[in-house]
Symmetry: C3
Subunit: 162 residues, 3 copies
């Protein structure tokens, strides 16, 4: 008799935040879930897009460029949501994490990708913030709308907005 394979449990996340600490939480949950054999979908929107950006400038219009300049850089430029102190907080947390052998965000993202976590960019945010597909890391699955996230979330056992 053939046993039906048990359906994999599933996590679906909206990653709205681009803060270092929240991204850290998001990727920790993602890698933890993927490592325990769950399906993981991450849908990056608004400030969260930083987590998928290449280290490059963005923006076409005057305001898009201004936004790109102020909120530029890749995942390793993310600052904590508290005690940012113009970059000092980022430096401090990176030091403290390193001291406890916690991998940096870019490594954690890489691990997530290797474990099969699916990452999508929110089409509308990318348009509004003027961050085109080619400014994002190649591993991004595709750029999708909110309907796509909702489809994933409906099937998920755990859905989170981070």
């Amino acid at each position: 008799m053939v046993m039906a394979e048990e359906k994999k449990k599933k996590v679906a996340m909206v990653v709205f935040s681009g803060d270092m600490d929240k991204l850290f939480a998001a990727f920790s949950i993602a890698t933890g879930a993927a490592a325990s054999n769950m399906d993981v979908t991450m849908f990056f929107t608004f400030w969260g897009l930083r987590a998928l950006k290449k280290k490059t400038k963005t923006g076409k219009s005057f305001m898009g460029k201004m936004l790109g300049a102020m909120y530029g850089g890749d995942i390793d430029r993310a600052s904590p949501s508290k005690m940012s102190f113009g970059g000092l907080g980022r430096w401090m947390f990176k030091k403290m994490m390193k001291a406890k052998n916690v991998p940096p965000l870019s490594d954690l993202r890489q691990t997530a990708l290797e474990l099969g976590v699916k990452m999508y960019g929110c089409q509308m945010s990318m348009e509004v913030m003027e961050i085109p597909r080619e400014k994002m890391i190649d591993e991004v699955d595709k750029c999708v709308g909110v309907a796509f996230f909702l489809e994933q979330a409906q099937q998920a056992d755990v859905s989170l907005f981070i």
Copy 2:
């Protein structure tokens, strides 16, 4: 043979934030879900109450008035969670959204209402922040407690805290 109607999928959200960008995410998910035939319940609490307020002053006690003055206005006065710059950020994002034909928050809320999204105010927050029912838009369903949200969330396929 009569086929049983398939049960509608359901989303339940706590909207805690009153930030422009997070409200934008909340209402985009709500309209997206309602447009794909899901049931949507939004429970507005704390800063999120701004999304349901009329353009009017609130507050009775000295501190309630102070809060009303500093955090006053309706949904269109919401500022982004990052790069607020005393109103400049709001202006900038509104411009950038308009350039991409993204509707403003008040339109998005109207669309949500027309699609049947249910919106509730959190009774306790309204009392603490001194925002009475009559200062909120007429379309608000009613003002409820946390138990009401939990009932909705238990039946929901997707629950989010925004």
Copy 3:
């Protein structure tokens, strides 16, 4: 005929924030859920750890101490996420809540504990932030990893990231 007992509904929360207002939302949901006979698991991580800390100094390394000094204190030192004004916001909200007979955070946490809400500290955050077990209230169940949260969340009817 013996009726099978109905399975209790379950809520699982990540409490990432240490802000007064968000903690207030988290504990209100937790007590509300427990009072309506749901199982509740709260997993405190990063800034959320403050909600479980004793009123004591933390930190061993230079940076850990700095963090402990700037972000020190127990649950009653938490400030609102908006209009903090160097402590003024905390004072104001405490006054406004008291005027409406809303209990302070420490009482709300106590009620949650008495209603059987389970509270866990995130092991990794505690290490990075240098907050050892003995600096946390005795009622904390144990310190666990993200895998533990995911197990709880999979079984939950409602999962939230706050």
